[in-house]
Symmetry: C3
Subunit: 467 residues, 3 copies
């Protein structure tokens, strides 16, 4: 009887026509829209030689490609290997973690090029793209990867593609409001990427609440090897975060400074994570979950302020605090959110992205409000906050206020958007797994029989029925 | 009786004197030849200060090192980690995959520096090398890594070193014919690297056909962990492919454009791979083999045209098609090639490199033939196709014709070369494994006893013979 | 009885208060010292616009960030993923290897920024940092990672943090003596990083000699999967070593040349490692320990000379020799050092860093002594060895002498420092593991129960006691 129900549920996850249909439909849409809208920007177009003369550039090295391509590649690694492998920690969901992340990110970057392009690179009816657009598309998808962390193991690939479509759209709108309407600085995306992505994902997982998820409890942990794979993700995120926070900053000192601040914040964060991981565990042993995640909170939390004159010791302080907040969150808040608020947050993105994202927004607002011409220099001050044109007369304290407003806008957009998208994903047509089949690759993937399973079978007490 | 034969075959694989001899002999040859021929080019030589004055350069940043070194490192990662780990998917051939790839690539880059140097960087009796030579050497070795994929698990390390020697030589000749005699553009190597490398490898594996390979059938699959390791290879190839296709393009817009086109093609390829992987499997589940390989076909297929004005939507279309072609190839063509044509293609390089390489050559020919001064600009047109000197009057359609010719030359060279080298490798002196020992590290490597094996032993029904 | 003793020892490793205390104390100290001393250098400061005018720079691309940031990121990967995963080879010490390496490096880079800053970047009472300081901090920590290799699995995280504090301090002093007082060139750190780090670590492990370590013998080996993880570390070290040796060289030709020389040396080293690994094993099979380690010796051994006119064939010769020396060391010297000199060197750093480091120092001294204005050019000669100011009249042979002196100073500092720090670490207050608990993550980490263990339990003959 019980068995029948399970099998009934399992049939639900049959992807053979639905998944191909969605993939092909959306890719065809991308081709059509790219055909109508997307072209190279002058620095990537074969007319560059003429452009160089117009802009009075004497060398090809002035092409934006050489300022940003190394950082772009680092960001690219963070999105695909960083986020992908960070989520491999589950013992039997490695294919889904790295594979679905690959799928949604590959689709998301295309849609993001369009959405962000319409808002930011639209010239004479065409979206003109260059390396900075690629970075921004990766950034946008980063927020989807974050949200994926909350629902990891509990959704079908179709749901992920649907979520990506909506989340990228809302991301672009929110980003436009912040960067263009509020004229807020957020180069490393504490607000636009982390706060938005995390609260969006938390809201989605709240709507998709599964009361009987404990049926998959045994699969929700890690094994020794999966924890090592996850450390690959962690380390690439940690090492390349300075590139993430500096990738789209202004050329020169701003990129340079953003990398240094992030480097410092992350270093401090490791020490407080280790301290609190040991302190909060009875036996004083370190918990891999904390090392894999909380060590990264320092990067999230300087996402807004890294390109500002936060200074190295300011960065250390931010990292110090976030290592603590994030680790404490894993120990106390995650269980609370699950039991009381019915937020089932597989990867604990509330601790790694949501809280540090909010802190990052606040640190950014304070740092902006505290800016002076003395600290930045006359030209540096204008350049750092782009106090030109209609913003010529904006003061640091006003800027700080707008920065703070950006946090709330991101939060609201995330919660409203997450509720909407969660409701859509709740429709019973997307093929999500039954409660007892969560965190299990076998539903959506051809899984090879392992040698271990051989052992299982070989010694299965049920099989070698004694004669 | 059967046992004796096996042991007899196994003795054949004894490497103790042969492998060291080949390694040392060839490395000594490299040292002598480097001593006679190889020097630094002016940008890497200590006379650079004088060179700068001669070339009227005002800054060290104009050194080619800064234009290409980040891309070089990405390509380097693709060759050693990308190809190396992509092939780790076999359950008991991980050491051989990553270790032999390491060995042949380390030897191959040295020999490639010489061979390519004689053809392209030979000045006054010396080969002058710089960062671009390093990239080209890595590229050349890439074609050997591709061929290695066809014979993976079925050859001795000596055979691989012999193959590398010959294949690098032929690669350099073929490349010289294409780039210098036919004046063909192929910056990302759809023809020189992928078509050549793949058909070369397929011919070699055809000649080395093993009728009784099914004796190793049980070892030719993957296990859960090995598939995750392989995804590391896949993702690094996928992420860094934009660097691969742009690494040796002209400074400025060409490098910039090549990266964007490749990024787009690869993104589209992921979606059609997923669509067809699910569609072609009865249960609609995704197959890791497709995700690991077919997602990369989009990079192969814009190898010739990425630096041209292919445009982002053109790239999407190419990627769209190649994801389908490659996945369909894995499902239908690979079994057909094995059963009918006796081509045993371990990694399915026919689907990942051969067909997409041909498509890439064709796309390149079409894109070149369709070029106009309007699209490229007057200067950009000449620069893009290097229509200078004796090629000043070559028209785009003629160029397209030569590009097409390049495909056939590469194909012929690959098939003829592969047949020759296959014949050499068939000699019974190289210590290749017996049919029943293929895909097994234990033949050439000291393999640690695993904990799982302990379990095996512990429960081995044969051992705890009941008293 | 035996059991009680074990439990008594085990209690000793209780980290709950000691580890958090050390981490927090030291991080607070870092914040205070950074607050007092550390500021951005002019290229990372918001005053850069004014600086540019002062220095007459026309473009942001002249910012040192663009010369060094890609190399910095490669070095960063080497320290955290390279060293971290290289040490994952132990079957049950993966968390400790990658996790403690992460911890000590994150702390070490902060302390190194201060120590090296006081010696090299101290201006008007402030340490002014930029991307070059980040690279140097990573370098300094590299020497601690090397020393960690000798004591891997036998120390508590507190001991590692204490060792890091002292070793970074001594590293900075030694570096100051070499670079500033002796005016020695050592861009890739054959002497300052490898010789110093390795002999320091060997001395520490000698002092911490454990006569009963064979109680952990069964855990001191690798398993199949852990060897594959270690190859990730190996390959990233191998691939990025050209960036390591060129990261802080002079702009232009020196960086370019250092990368080429290192590339060549490493390639040669792989072939002789393979040759000798096979030759020195009775069955002629390859040993993963050699492939994982000895292949890297070529990078260590051109650490001093790579930026000089060593030439590609000179590099091949150095790599050729070091592959042999290092492999032979693993086979013959490591057992000898353990049995006769009581040096228990877990990772064999004597073979990978100590001997190749010494060779690197010697090769550097010879290459410097052999320098001529003819080979380097008039300006290049002065630039390469910085023969300006008080060193204007120093001749190559004198320089060679000082280079040689640098080797001895590094050796002495390492041995004396290692003895001192070893003695401190021997105090019974740091919570190091008992002899039978070495090489075991379970002491300091929450380790997930594996599926294999499930199998164990399921079939544990002691448990399912037949009724």
């Amino acid at each position: 009887m019980e068995r029948t129900r399970h099998q009934g549920m399992a049939k639900n996850t049959y992807m053979r026509w639905r998944l191909p249909l969605v993939c092909l439909l959306w890719e065809v849409a991308m081709i059509v829209l790219f055909g109508v809208f997307v072209r190279f920007n002058p620095e990537a177009d074969a007319h560059w030689e003429e452009e160089k003369q117009k802009m009075n550039l004497t060398s090809d090295i002035e092409n934006d490609f050489y300022f940003r391509y190394p950082s772009f590649q680092d960001v690219h690694v963070m999105i695909f290997v960083g986020f992908g492998f960070l989520m491999v920690f589950l013992k039997r969901y490695g294919f889904g973690a790295v594979g679905f992340n690959f799928l949604l990110a590959a689709f998301g970057i295309q849609w993001a090029l369009l959405m962000q392009g319409w808002f930011h690179s639209f010239v004479n009816g065409k979206i003109l793209i260059g390396v900075e657009n690629l970075i921004n598309a990766d950034f946008c998808v980063g927020s989807v990867c974050i949200a994926f962390g909350a629902i990891l193991g509990k959704t079908s690939p179709i749901q992920l593609l649907v979520m990506t479509l909506f989340q990228v759209t809302l991301f672009a709108v929110n980003e436009y409001i912040l960067l263009n309407l509020l004229h807020v600085k957020d180069a490393g995306g504490s607000m636009t990427i982390h706060t938005f992505g995390a609260y969006f994902g938390l809201m989605v997982t709240r709507i998709l609440y599964r009361p009987n998820l404990e049926q998959s409890k045994d699969k929700q942990g890690s094994v020794y090897q999966s924890d090592l794979f996850a450390m690959i993700g962690t380390l690439y995120l940690w090492m390349y975060w300075p590139s993430f926070n500096s990738a789209i900053s202004e050329h020169g000192d701003a990129q340079h400074r953003a990398a240094i601040n992030t480097y410092c914040s992350l270093a401090a964060c490791v020490l407080t994570t280790v301290a609190f991981s040991s302190m909060l565990q009875k036996k004083g042993k370190l918990d891999m979950v904390h090392i894999q995640n909380a060590t990264l909170a320092g990067g999230v939390a300087v996402g807004t302020s890294a390109e500002m004159m936060l200074t190295p010791y300011g960065s250390l302080i931010v990292g110090f605090i976030c290592g603590i907040v994030s680790t404490v969150g894993y120990v106390y808040l995650t269980p609370f959110l699950e039991s009381r608020l019915h937020i089932q947050d597989t990867c604990g993105i509330h601790n790694l992205h949501a809280m540090p994202g909010l802190i990052g927004g606040i640190v950014g607002a304070i740092t902006a409000a505290a800016a002076t011409e003395d600290v930045y220099g006359k030209e540096g001050f204008v350049k750092a906050f782009d106090f030109t044109g209609q913003y010529k007369t904006r003061s640091p304290s006003i800027q700080g206020g707008f920065q703070a407003a950006g946090i709330f806008v991101s939060l609201l957009m995330a919660l409203a958007g997450g509720a909407l998208v969660g409701a859509i994903l709740k429709l019973p047509i997307w093929g999500d797994p039954a409660d007892e089949n969560c965190f299990e690759d076998d539903i959506y993937w051809e899984v090879p029989e392992d040698e271990e399973s051989d052992v299982y079978h070989m010694h299965n007490p049920a099989k070698p029925a004694s004669p």
